[in-house]
Symmetry: C2
Subunit: 215 residues, 2 copies
């Protein structure tokens, strides 16, 4: 691999700023939560929502995993979007276009009932925008049965990587086709439960419009 | 939440067998590699390929991360596919359909040149099926500049979770729309590099057909 191409590659996989971090996080709904249990990684996929300078996670109060990270173990939330396959003139130079974010920190359990309710509404809103206003309010029992945790997004404790563009120029002329296969996640028409017939509400329409993006 | 619904939910999120693990792994190209560095999680998204009873990862020999896990640190590879948003009659009961796999183990660096070349061909084939035959062979220098690692898939050291279906029956009658918003990843038409005009080769056509799935 020649030096100029390597340099360009590194530039393409630049390390963007905080706004870029937010954009990568807000482009997804599901991430991978990693922590450490007895010296080994412990990993679980989870829905998440960004709420300003913090990430919100939720789950059943019965889930042992959440109890562990809630107890102050170091944690990381990872999000990755695969945007395309980069087809170069060699297998060695072929690559992928992607956007990824890893946020490192500690999860704090949200226990205050009002803060917890607001956080759950925020999570619900990321998944189904405005759904909260279409259904009955959460009961106190439901709020109590849910564990909600917040991870602060702290300066220097995150990594964002973005690769875009094509494969770049080959070292030597080639007859091979080169380019990119774009990938994206789409929503299909919503599938109502049997016995429905009700009009699709705005929250669901909005989810279809956004696909798998939170915003 | 009533007991019967909870039981049904658990059944829907069943723990399938090894064939299901393979299916979840083979349905994706990118995962999250987690390990432990100085007691804290260390996480990076990576392309992967399943090769029978092992997972293959690759990267530049210069990447510090890979060196760490290659040195025998405990690691986990996590893969998640978000298949839909489950819209229930309450925010509490709303959920997501997904398939996820976490494989725990240790990465072994593949150093034998022939085994390494075969592993790299397998990785390339997962990303661009048959591309290997369309371009010149990898050079010895390219093979040397690439780090390839294998993680054995061992009985009992993986977790698969699958949730499918609708939100289930509400506790009480409701007027709310309920159902599922399906999500899927698709490939768009391949974008050739400028100055192209060559026909799209079979490997790229096949990648478009498979979308973001390895098989």
């Amino acid at each position: 691999m020649t030096a100029p191409r390597e340099v360009r590659r590194l530039a393409e996989r630049s390390r963007p700023g905080r706004a870029d971090l937010d954009a990568v996080l807000d482009a997804g709904l599901v991430g991978t939560l990693s922590t450490v249990v007895e010296g080994a990684p412990w990993v679980v996929p989870m829905l998440y929502a960004r709420d300003g300078d913090r990430l919100l996670l939720h789950g059943s109060t019965g889930a042992g995993a959440l109890r562990h990270v809630a107890a102050g173990a170091p944690a990381a939330l990872s999000v990755v979007h695969l945007d395309g396959i980069v087809v170069a003139h060699t297998t060695f130079d072929s690559s992928a276009n992607y956007r990824s974010a890893v946020v490192y920190g500690t999860l704090r359990p949200i226990t205050d009932p009002e803060e917890k309710r607001a956080a759950l509404t925020r999570v619900s809103d990321a998944v189904l925008p405005g759904r909260d206003a279409e259904v009955r309010p959460m009961t106190g029992r439901e709020v109590a049965a849910t564990q909600v945790m917040a991870m602060e997004v702290r300066d220097g404790d995150w990594v964002v990587k973005v690769r875009t563009g094509g494969p770049g120029e080959p070292d030597e002329p080639t007859d091979a086709w080169t380019g990119v296969v774009p990938l994206r996640t789409v929503a299909d028409e919503p599938l109502p439960d049997p016995g429905g017939g009700r009009p699709v509400p705005p929250s669901v329409r909005e989810r279809v419009r956004r696909g798998a993006s939170a915003v």
